[in-house]
Structures are given as C-alpha cells and as structure tokens.
C-alpha cells in the first residue's frame, strides 16, 4: 500500500493548499490537510505535519493570511484564507500545471515502438 501513494513534487503541496483555500474558504491546518487527503482519495503520501512549512511559506509570500479563531466545535485553532494576490498566483500556477499535465499526457501517450521502421 505505501508504494501506491504519490510522493509530492516540489511546489505541488503549495498549489494544493492554495486551491483548497480558494475552494473551501477559511480553514485551519488540520482541515486543509484532511481536505487534500479526501480529494486525492487518500492517494497522496502526506504527513499532515508537513503542511505547516507550506503554510508559513505561502504566508510569507503574502498569498494567504492567518489568524487565530475558534472552530465549529469550539476549539482554538489558526485559520487560513487565501488573499487576492494568492488567487492571482493560483490562477497562474494552475494554468502552468494544466499545461504541463497536458504535455506530459501527450508525451506519455506516444505508442511504444512508433519510431521503428
């Protein structure tokens, strides 16, 4: 089972976090981590703790903001939301990933031995 999980490429986690916040609005760290796991159908190899390095990185770039608040079940937690600059960045990065994925898809679709005479 472990080998079937996807190892995350550098930078992909940041993009996932941004997209999650854009889709879901204000969320705490645990919520973001859970959401990514659920969406990926538990296919992503994610130690939930690694999300915090990504969060601080995004925060320092000014793409997300954070504040302490209270969860639905009355727990103190730090909530993150995407900023306007973050949305802009997200659309750029998403477009980039989309293109990359398309190209990769086409390259990998080449039938084997097609270059043989």
């Amino acid at each position: 089972m472990p080998e079937s999980k996807l190892d995350l490429l550098q930078g992909t986690l940041d993009l996932m976090v941004l997209q999650t916040l854009a889709a879901m609005g204000r969320l705490h760290g645990y919520g973001i981590a859970r959401r990514i796991e659920q969406v990926s159908g538990d296919a992503v190899l994610l130690n939930q703790g690694t999300i915090y390095a990504s969060l601080v990185r995004l925060q320092q770039r000014g793409w997300i903001s954070a504040e302490w608040g209270t969860s639905t079940n009355n727990r103190k937690a730090k909530f993150y939301s995407i900023t306007r600059r973050g949305r802009k960045q997200l659309s750029e990065d998403a477009a980039y990933w989309q293109r990359l994925a398309d190209v990769m898809g086409r390259v990998l679709a080449l039938p084997e031995g097609s270059n043989n005479k």
């Binding site: 705490h28 645990y30 703790g49 690694t50 390095a53 601080v56 000014g62 937690a77």
Partner: protein, 903 residues
C-alpha cells in the same frame, strides 16, 4: 522580485522572533492533533487508537518543526549560530587546549597585524597632501652630493624657465630665536617660498600665506607661526595677526598661522615652529650663483606631466643655464624625486623583508595549532563516529570543525590585535627615528580588515587538514577500536608539519642572525671619535653681538668658552661651526696651492669643513696621526693653519707629506661679498671621522675632512658665527646628560640673560640614530625569530610527546623483549633528529634564496654568510634536541608491565 524581497524580510523577522513563532507552531500543532483525535473518536475509535492514528497521520513532529523553521527563517544563519555555539562549548570544555591555541595564534596574528599597521601607515596610506603624487623634491645633483642644494639664483631660473611645474618653492633652515615673549628661546624655523604652502595644499587657520611681493629682499619682514607655537607661546591669541615678534633679532609681523596637522620631514626640512619668506634672506652670499649656500625645493607638476617629462624639461633648462654661466653652471643637473619616494623610499625594502619574515611566524603558529588539533582529534574520533552514525553528513562535520578552528583564529586575532597595538608602539619607542611617518601608524579600518581576513584565512588554513582527516574517518573501524591504533598517515602529516616548522624557524633565525652580525659589525666599527660622555648643543648669543666688531665678537666667544669651561664636570670643550659628525654636513671648495686655479666651479675640490677650537681633538677623542692639532696660538693674528684627516691626505697628497703644504680655501670678502681665496697651511693630520653615520660613511663620495680654527675665520665668517654656534663638551659627571646640560645653560644665562642654549643631544644618541633602521630591523627580526624558535620548539616537543604516547605499547613490547632505556631514548631522539635535520636542510636552501632580498640591509656580512648559517643551524639543532629530550626520556622510563596493561 518584490516577492523574494518580502519573503526575505519575513525570514529575517522570523529569525529574531524564534521563540514566539515556535510557541505559535506548537499551539497550532496541538490544536491539529486534538481536532484529529476528536474526529477519530467520532468515527468510533477507542481513545488510545484515536490518539495513535492522529499521531501517525501527523508524522514526525520534530521534523515538522524543523521544516517549518527552515521555511520561515534563515536556515544558513541558524546553522552557523548553532555551529558557533557548539564550537564555543567544545572550546570551553578544554580550556588548556583553547588557551594554548589562542595564545599561539595571537602571537602569530598579532605580529602580522603590527607589521601590517606599519606598512599601512608608512607605505600604503596616501601622504596627507592633496597633490602628493605630483609633488617632486628637487635637488641639484653635485659631484659629491646627488641631493645637493641649489644656489638661489639657479633656483629662481629653474622656477622661471621650466614648463612642467605648476609651481616650485624653495626652503632652507633659519635662525629661530624668539626674544621678547617670555623667556628667550630657540625654536625650529624654516625659510620658505611664497608658494610653499599652496604646493602642499596647506591652508592657514588664521591669516594667509606669504605673497610674491614679500618673498624678496627689502620687503616688509613677515612671519607665519605654527599652530603649536601660537598656542604655547602666544596663548592662542586671536588677534595675533599684525603683531610684531622678535625673530632672529629682527621684528617680524605675524601674517598667518598654519595648522598643527601640517607635518613634513624631508632632507633639510622638518616641520617648523615658524616660517619666514626665503627671498627676504639678507645674506649676500645666499643670493650668489656661485655660493655654496643654497636652497632645497619642492615642486608640483602640472596635471598629466610625468616625472620623466619633467626630468627632460629640467635638462633643457639646465643646458640654457650652462650656456649663460659656463664658469658656474657648466654641468648643472637637477635631481627630481617623487615626494613619497623621498620620504619612505629607504624604509620600503626593510618593511617588506620584515613582512615576509613575520609571515613565517604566522605559518609556524598555524602548523602548531594544526598539530594540536590533530592530536586532539584522536580523542574526538569517537564523538564524530557517533555523530556520523546518527546521520550527520561528512560536510556537516567538516563545517563544524572548520567553525571551531575559525572561532579559535578569531579569538586569537582579537587578542593579537591587542598585542599588535601594544607591540607597534613598543617597537617604535624602542628605536626612535627609525621609521618615517611614525605618526601615521595606528589601527585603522584597513588594519582591522587585514586582521579579520588573516584570522579567518588562518582558521581555515590550519583547520582544514585535521578537519579533512577527521571527517573522512571510517565510522565502523573507529567505533570498534576506539582509536587505539596509530594511523601512520596522520603521524606522517605531523612529521611533515614539524619539518616545515623547523625550516621556517631556521630561515627566520638566519635573518635575525645576519642582522645581529650587521649590528655587531656596525657597533664595532670605529666611528673615528669617542661619542661617550660627549654632549653637543646650540647657543645663540644676543642678536646685538653680530653688529659688533670682529674683535669684540671674538672676545665674547672666548668669554662664552670660559663660562662653559668653568662649569664643574666639563673636561674639554670646543665651540664649533660647520659640519657636525652624523648630524649635519658642510663642505667648502678649495684647490691645493701650486696647482692652477680651476676655471669652473664644478672643478674645485671639496672637503668637509669643521671650524673648531683647540679643545675639539680631546673633546671628540680623535687621534692625531701626524704633526700637531690647532692650538691656542693659532689665532686671528697668526698664520692661518688647517688640520686634515687621512682621507684628505691620501686623496690630495698621495705618497707625499702634507705638512707644510698650503690649500686655497674659498671665502667671501666681508666688504664686497666677492669671492676670495685664502691660503691655509696644513700643520697636522688626524684620523678620519665617520661623518655620514656608521652604516653609510664608506659609500659617500665626499671623504676629505678639514679642521680650521674658529679664531682665524674671516670677518664675514665671524659675524655669521656670532649668530649661532654649536658647542661640544666632554664631561665627567654623575648627572644625566640632560641635567648636566641644564647646569651649563644656567651658567650661560647667569653670564648673559639673552643667551639661548638649546638642542642638546648626546653624541652617543646621534651615533645610535645613524643606524636606527638597522637596529629597528634587528629588533623586529630578533623578536620574530625568537617567536619562531619558541613555537617550533613547542611544536616538535608536542609532536614527539604525542607520538611517544601513541607508541607506549610498542615501546612496552620492545622493553619487554629486552630493549634498554637507552635504546628507547635513542629511538625517540632519532625520530626528532631526523625531522630537525630534514627541516634544517630545507631551511638552508630557502634561506640562501630569501636572504638575498636583505642584501641592502646588511653591512660587513654577506647574505649567504656560511658562519651565520652554521651557527644558526647548530643552535636550532641544539634547541630542537633539547625539546625532544623530555619526551624521549619519558619514553625510556616506560614500565613495560604498565604500558602493556594500559588501554
């Protein structure tokens, strides 16, 4: 880009809010876990399982913290600080090692910093004049004096005819007696041209410089004061301008004050207390083209003009003068020397040699510390093995070790800076007048930067070899056997280090040895007179004396002689005028009677001229070789006589008896100021006196010396003498020379309150100053060599002790198998001797090459002097073997039972 900047800003902020952010993260993480546990509980898991799964899903908490810190802060800086903290902890844990290493490095770095601060202050820092690199010091190149004075009319023609100088200014010493303000005293005075201060870019702090109108005969007498004199003598009087001051017996109007920051020291010019316009000099002789009286000059080149172009231009000017005045200026030549060259040219090679030498001291210090680190690394191998086993990379360990060595070096550098600051002033004080621009030497930012760079560089240098060895250690092997086996490779490194140290120490010792032999040679050289217990000083009779008749002047001079002679403790005395051994030159033209009078001025023979009284011979302890010295009978009424030295006799009367021969000596007629030639009969021959210093006398072309009687001077000469003379006194007193001078001074003041006696110096000091730069080199090279010897001895001692410790078991086995203590002693000493001898062999070759650069500093000994080499090599071998003997003896006393049991 702004994105990167913002992120960096946040990172810096995070770096400083480390603890706060850690707390924040911890709170966030525990909230995370609680949320997860809660959800798991809702899914129906047991409390234990809910918690376990939450923790598993979260992953390594410490790793999360680390990656969070890395993402938010400045990981490089944090690692560095961590390494630093660890390094300091390690160094604190072994204070003995740290102290020795820091002290060793402090000596090495300190010595280098001290020398660099000399080089920085003297050679590197620009001169404090805005146009310094366009300023030339100008001399007239004469047969006996490449840096001779320029006759004033020639100087004026140079100034007018040249096309390459913006401006030329003359300068010359002057009578600096001040009367009428407090006690009469003599201060340093210079005559200068109107443009002198503007060439040097010196702005008066009060008033103005001289004008061209003031700079000629008959102009209104004016004077410029130095800020120092103005403060001291005139109480910083803000209204000093326009006031009259009695200088040299004449009233002069103060027109300006120049700042204390103005300092210049070149031939015949030292920063003075007051300045007069040179053109106002009333002395007729000064204004004659054929005069031996002259001026020195500085000039500032027009922008873009090179020294080579200026020299060509001056050739053109001089060929014009040679055509116009064929009898006087036939071969006239100008000698232009860049100002900086004139000031520091002589000391430059000395400083560079010393800098090279001090570099060796630092290398030896490095090798010693590297050896210490190597020895210590044995004890730390387990520590590093464990760290490697726990996942530290080789690079991390290397970084940690280099951090430790750089920290050591920086500590050494800081201590070295203190030593350097102290050592520089000590060295300069030990040998005064040895280094020009001494006032410019100090710790400035460039020196601090030098020390920092050297410290870091040195830290990497001596840390690298041990660090590479340790960080490359085989984990399994050293964990297993706890570093008991000796790595052959490592002890070979140490042996190479010791050989290198010995070689470098030998080079330094030979350098010092050569300087010591130079000094021994110079000190042992007979200066031609006996400077012990001889004092010289200047006296300025009251200005009214010069206005009296020659007979009255002579009567007063005899009276002064009597007053000084009767001071208790005075054994011999002579009033004196003219050349002063090792202090001031004075030459006069002559031709031997019976030969045709030369047609051109340049063709006259020259001799140094000493105008003295009969007591001079005994005062100075000069040996009489033939005939007689000048006596009291040789006075104004008797035939004029002269005494010459043996150089004079050999040059102008080779193989003949000079006694009874006559020479025609140049003089001026008192009434017409026309040139005259006066016949003097030679009555005696005395020994040659080192006029130009212990080191340089032999290389000077002017060797002939002539003495004549003060009482037989022409009337014009007698008037000149009435304005100031020198006195030589041989004394026998328990008082210090200074205190003794004061007793003479009070006796003179009691005789006449207007007499000024000043400028006293003992002849011993004057002789010592003549070899100040050699003494300075010897002192510094001696200190460096002593340091090198000490460090190298400690080095070989340390390495042998270490090896003996390592070979304890082997020695134990040997002794158990029957080896005697003597055999072991021989074994260990043999190791030491081998390293020493190889080192000395290499050192001799290196020294043969390097000491050639010292050739210009050496006297009476060749750079490759075999005797010095042999003595130094023997000495170093002896010291090294002594250093080896202690560990060797310890080895020979190893108890086999104890050694074999020892783990």
């Amino acid at each position: 880009m702004t994105d990167q900047l913002r992120r960096f800003f946040h990172r810096v902020r995070s770096f400083f809010r480390h603890a706060e952010q850690d707390r924040d993260l911890d709170a966030e993480m525990s909230a995370h876990l609680e949320l997860a546990i809660e959800e798991n509980l809702e899914r129906g898991l047991s409390a234990l399982e809910a918690r376990r799964q939450a923790l598993v899903r979260f992953g390594g908490q410490q790793q999360s913290r680390e990656s969070h810190r890395e993402a938010r802060g400045l990981p490089l800086l944090e690692t560095l600080l961590q390494d630093l903290r660890f390094a300091l902890r390690m160094l604190r844990k072994s204070p003995g090692f740290t102290a020795i290493a820091v002290l060793t490095l402090a000596l090495g770095i300190g010595a280098n910093t001290a020398l660099f601060s000399l080089i920085n202050g003297v050679l590197l820092n620009p001169l404090p004049f805005p146009n310094a690199n366009r300023i030339a010091v100008m001399f007239q190149d004469k047969p006996n004096f490449p840096k001779g004075s320029i006759s004033y009319p020639n100087f004026l023609d140079w100034r007018q005819d040249n096309r390459c100088f913006e401006s030329i200014a003359g300068y010359r010493g002057a009578d600096g007696t001040i009367r009428g303000v407090g006690e009469p005293e003599e201060v340093r005075a210079q005559r200068v041209s109107a443009t002198f201060f503007s060439i040097l870019g010196v702005q008066p702090i009060l008033g103005r410089s001289f004008t061209d109108e003031e700079d000629r005969r008959g102009a209104n007498p004016t004077v410029i004061l130095s800020e120092g004199l103005w403060k001291r003598k005139f109480g910083s009087d803000q209204n000093i301008l326009g006031k009259a001051v009695n200088v040299g017996g004449a009233a002069r109007t103060v027109i300006g004050v120049v700042p204390m920051s103005f300092r210049l020291n070149v031939q015949n010019f030292r920063t003075a207390d007051l300045y007069e316009p040179i053109g106002q000099d009333e002395d007729e002789k000064f204004h004659r083209r054929d005069s031996f009286w002259g001026t020195n000059a500085i000039g500032v080149l027009k922008p873009g003009v090179t020294f080579a172009q200026a020299r060509e231009d001056m050739k053109r000017v001089n060929s014009g003068l040679a055509t116009t005045y064929p009898d006087i200026d036939a071969d006239i030549k100008a000698n232009l020397i860049p100002l900086k060259e004139e000031i520091v040219g002589e000391i430059r090679p000395v400083l560079l040699v010393l800098f090279g030498a001090v570099g060796f001291v630092l290398l030896i210090a490095c090798v010693n510390v590297a050896n210490l680190l190597l020895a210590r690394s044995t004890g730390r191998r387990r520590e590093f093995s464990i760290r490697v086993a726990l996942g530290a990379g080789q690079a991390q360990i290397l970084r940690q070790l280099l951090t430790e060595s750089v920290v050591l070096a920086l500590l050494g550098g800081a201590l070295g800076l203190i030593l350097a600051n102290w050592g520089t002033s000590a060295a300069l004080a030990a040998v005064p007048r040895s280094v020009p621009r001494a006032e410019d030497i100090g710790l400035d930012p460039r020196v601090l930067l030098f020390t920092l760079v050297v410290s870091v560089g040195v830290g990497i240098l001596f840390g690298l070899v041990p660090a590479l060895k340790i960080s490359g250690v085989d984990v399994g092997a050293s964990l297993k056997d706890a570093g008991r086996a000796i790595s052959m490779y490592r002890s070979r490194t140490q042996a190479v280090f010791v050989v290198g140290e010995m070689a470098m120490a030998l080079v330094l010792l030979i350098g010092a040895g050569l300087m010591i032999r130079t000094l021994a040679y110079l000190w042992g050289r007979n200066p031609g007179f006996d400077p012990h217990n001889v004092l010289s000083f200047g006296i300025d009779p009251p200005p009214s004396l010069a206005a009296q008749s020659p007979d009255a002047i002579r009567a007063e001079l005899r009276e002064l002689h009597r007053v000084i002679r009767s001071t208790p403790g005075v054994e011999h005395i002579s009033l004196h005028w003219g050349a002063h051994p090792m202090q001031g030159d004075d030459e006069v033209g002559f031709w031997p009677e019976g030969q045709p009078q030369p047609a051109r001025q340049a063709d006259y023979a020259s001799t140094l001229e000493y105008v003295i009284e009969p007591g001079y011979l005994q005062t100075m302890g000069i040996p009489l070789l033939r005939g007689r010295f000048i006596s009291d009978a040789d006075d104004e009424r008797s035939e004029r006589v002269a005494v010459i030295d043996n150089s004079f006799a050999q040059k102008y009367f080779p193989g003949r008896d000079p006694i009874g021969k006559r020479v025609m000596i140049f003089d001026f007629d008192a009434d017409s100021s026309e040139r005259t030639w006066i016949a003097f009969t030679i009555v005696g021959v005395v020994g040659h006196v080192n006029q130009f210093g212990l080191a340089d006398d032999a290389i000077q072309p002017l060797q002939a010396q002539m003495y004549r009687s003060l009482m037989q001077g022409s009337d014009l000469f007698t008037k000149n003498a009435a304005q100031g003379l020198t006195v030589f006194v041989r004394f026998h007193s328990s008082l210090s020379p200074q205190a003794f001078f004061e007793t003479i001074r009070s006796a003179l003041l009691a005789h006449n309150g207007q007499i000024i006696a000043s400028g006293n110096e003992s002849e011993e000091e004057i002789v010592a100053h003549s070899i100040a730069s050699q003494r300075f080199s010897m002192v510094l090279l001696g200190v460096f060599a002593a340091l090198a010897l000490l460090l190298a001895s400690v080095g070989i001692y340390g390495v042998l002790s270490y090896l003996v410790g390592q070979r304890r078991q082997e020695i134990g086995v040997r002794m158990a198998l029957g080896a005697k203590g003597v055999d072991v002693l021989r074994l260990v000493l043999g190791d030491g001797a081998r390293m020493t001898l190889i080192g000395i062999g290499i050192g001799v070759v290196v020294a043969l090459i390097l000491t050639r650069s010292m050739a210009s500093m050496l006297y009476g000994v060749a750079p490759g002097d075999p005797l010095t080499f042999a003595i130094v090599a023997l000495f170093l071998s002896g010291v090294a073997l002594l250093a080896c003997y202690i560990p060797a003896r310890r080895a020979s006393r190893v108890d086999p039972v104890v050694a074999l049991r020892y783990e």
